[in-house]
């Protein structure tokens, strides 16, 4: 449990740092560390598959992409877009209201109910595969259309138009 609290503290701390740093590159680097703490959380929950996927896809691929885009756009400066204070205050109030609501909900709930503690082996690759190829086979197959759509779209938008006529 102490490990959990330590890691949870780290994730919240780095998540806040992601928001509050003004330099975009630093912000992305903090985000990488935040994702790393998530990976640790997944391992603590015995969700090995999620941990590996999070490590490779989010920390690896997506973050590198982020950094590349930032460097290509040359945003490596302290840029703070102008925002009116009213919007900031409204956002803060609304966000805090939501936070309080959820904290209240989480506090009321008994933490030993079966969905919270759950089956501790469910995150293993073997069990995940069984669920994915049995009960959730249809959504799994149909998500191939989602990927194909994204692929077609990415190529369509990135390709140079060669207009003949």
């Amino acid at each position: 449990m102490t490990i959990f609290y330590f890691v949870a503290f780290l994730s919240i701390f780095f998540a806040l740092m992601t928001i509050f740093t003004k330099n975009p590159v630093h912000s992305v680097l903090y985000l990488v560390i935040t994702f790393f703490t998530f990976t640790v959380h997944y391992i603590l929950l015995n969700a090995q598959f999620l941990a590996v996927v999070n490590f490779i896809v989010y920390m690896g691929a997506i973050m590198v992409l982020f950094l590349f885009v930032l460097m290509l756009l040359n945003l490596n400066k302290d840029i703070e877009p102008m925002r009116s204070n009213l919007v900031k205050i409204m956002g803060a109030v609304a966000g805090m209201c939501m936070l309080v609501t959820f904290l209240g909900a989480f506090k009321v709930i008994e933490s030993n109910n079966e969905f919270v503690t759950g089956n501790s082996d469910v995150g293993l690759v073997k069990n995940l595969g069984k669920v994915l190829f049995d009960e959730f086979l249809l959504p799994f197959e149909l998500s191939s259309i989602l990927l194909l759509t994204a692929m077609v779209g990415a190529i369509l938008l990135a390709k140079k138009e060669t207009k003949e006529a």
Binding site: T101, F102, G104, A105, V108, I109, E114, F115, V116, D134, E135, F136, L137, L138, P139, L142, S143, I145, L146, L148, T149, A150, V152, G153, L156, L157, K159, E161, T162, K163, E164
Partner: protein, 461 residues
């Protein structure tokens, strides 16, 4: 299910046709595929509907009706696409493919029986649209619209997913019947997660249907997108999202009926007023239609707040009326814009003299959108107001009537421009291609038919 499979394969087939440069075959093949999918759906009509594929999808009459509406509307819109896509770019096959995939997503959303399917359906539907909106790569407005739609859409998906997670935390299941049974079994001790989940799902879906206060993306995206895509978005996508919305709130969350209607009520009132009052101030026909689609989302939410035996058929009738007249209006806009190069109201000046048929079609479409008797729109509005009356939401009804009156004002403005103002400069004459004639005649005929014999639709559901 056969329809979903047909459409997915059809999309891939269309891609191959594009690869082999069979451009003239694209539209016929797509339309034949849509007909096959339509046949698959019609064959299932009235059968005993059980959730299939371990409870993932269910093809009951509700799902089939909305799927058929989506397929027919897509067919009508694609008929308009003949010269439209090739004037934008060379990669025509990809456009058809993306629209077909988006339609597949729409079918999934109207037939889901598990939150996993709802999520995948909404994503397939939206991802294809993010691309289609930004298809005019050199146009600044189109780029802005695509980026805005993408960011807003991704954000709202986050809300949707978090809501689904909280529902799972409360009930331990993704199956919608399971969630409903949980609510019936524990009327007193519903987990606090559940309320948060319901609200977040509500927010996510309101984003998708473009209801205020989550409507900020709608006008810019509808204006920036190519007209054909706008007409697809404001009809098929909206109808499918409402089918998903209604299934969720009309079937799953009914036992919680004293919790969420007040929230929805506020959303409806804000939506109606923002949509109608802003639509009144627009000078552009396209932007006016965008704002009016916000207000129509408000009317359609009526049926969800006042759930009753008739709410399914009233939302279906309203969706049909709205889709038909929107397609007609957008088809008219495409023709006018092609001839005059502008989508302002002024471009419609004198249309009643130069092209009486087109002017007549647009007039009928506007009257139907405004809800004037003898058109389908009147029947839709009448049924909506009737459902609300049965629940004694008198204040809501009064506000809605006020809004309907505002609607009449701005819809008739274009009619005034067509018949009572003369064009200053004679732009190019408007030529009506055969496919446009077919679409315009069909939509007008159906609008008037449903307006005169509403029983043919009302009895279906």
């Amino acid at each position: 299910m056969a329809a979903i499979i047909t459409l997915s394969l059809l999309g891939i087939l269309v891609l191959y046709l594009g690869l082999f440069k069979a451009k003239s075959a694209l539209l016929p093949v797509t339309l034949i595929g849509l007909l096959v999918a339509l046949g698959c759906e019609l064959a299932l009509w009235g059968g005993d509907a059980k959730p299939i594929y371990s409870g993932m999808v269910v093809f009951d009459n509700f799902a089939l009706a909305f799927s058929i509406l989506c397929i027919v509307t897509t067919g009508l819109i694609l008929l308009l696409s003949k010269a439209y896509f090739s004037s934008i770019s060379n990669n025509v096959a990809e456009y058809y493919c993306l629209i077909l995939f988006s339609l597949t997503g729409a079918l999934m959303v109207s037939a889901y029986h598990n939150f996993a399917m709802l999520f995948i359906g909404i994503e397939v539907m939206s991802v294809a649209l993010y691309i289609l909106v930004g298809i005019r790569k050199t146009d600044f407005g189109s780029n802005e619209a695509a980026l805005k739609y993408f960011l807003m859409g991704a954000f709202s998906t986050g809300f949707l997913l978090f809501g689904i997670t909280l529902l799972y935390g409360a009930t331990g299941t993704f199956d919608i019947t399971g969630v409903r049974e949980y609510l019936i079994a524990n009327p007193q001790q519903i987990s606090p997660y559940f309320y948060g989940g319901v609200l977040l799902l509500l927010i996510g879906l309101c984003f998708k249907v473009g209801a205020a206060p989550f409507h900020f993306w709608t006008p810019d995206v509808y204006e920036g997108a190519p007209i054909l895509i706008t007409s697809y978005m404001s009809t098929v996508v909206k109808v499918a999202s409402f089918a998903g919305f209604l299934r969720l709130f009309g079937y799953v969350f009914v036992p919680l009926h004293d919790f969420w209607p007040p929230v929805l009520l506020i959303v409806i009132i804000i939506t109606l007023f923002i949509g109608n009052i802003t639509a009144m101030m627009q000078a552009s026909f396209k932007r006016m239609l965008a704002y009016s689609s916000i207000s129509h989302a408000g009317y359609m939410l009526f049926a969800i707040v006042a759930l009753g035996a008739t709410s399914t058929s009233s939302i279906f009738t309203y969706a049909i009326a709205y889709s038909l007249s929107s397609v007609a209006a957008f088809a008219g806009l495409i023709l006018v814009k092609r001839a005059k190069g502008s989508d302002q109201f002024v471009a419609f000046n004198g249309l009643g003299k130069t092209n009486p048929f087109l002017a007549f079609v647009i007039t009928v479409a506007m009257l139907s959108l405004a809800g004037i008797p003898l058109t389908a729109g009147f029947i839709g509005k009448f049924m909506m107001f009737n459902t609300v009356m049965q629940d004694y939401h008198i204040v809501l009804l009064l506000l809605a009537v006020v809004n309907a009156a505002i609607g009449v004002f701005y819809y008739l403005r274009v009619v005034v421009h067509m018949y009572f103002k003369t064009a200053e400069d004679e732009g190019g004459a408007i030529v009506l291609p055969l496919s446009f004639k077919v679409v315009l005649a069909t939509t007008v005929a159906l609008t008037l038919l449903i307006g005169l014999y509403p029983d043919c639709i009302i009895g279906l559901l």
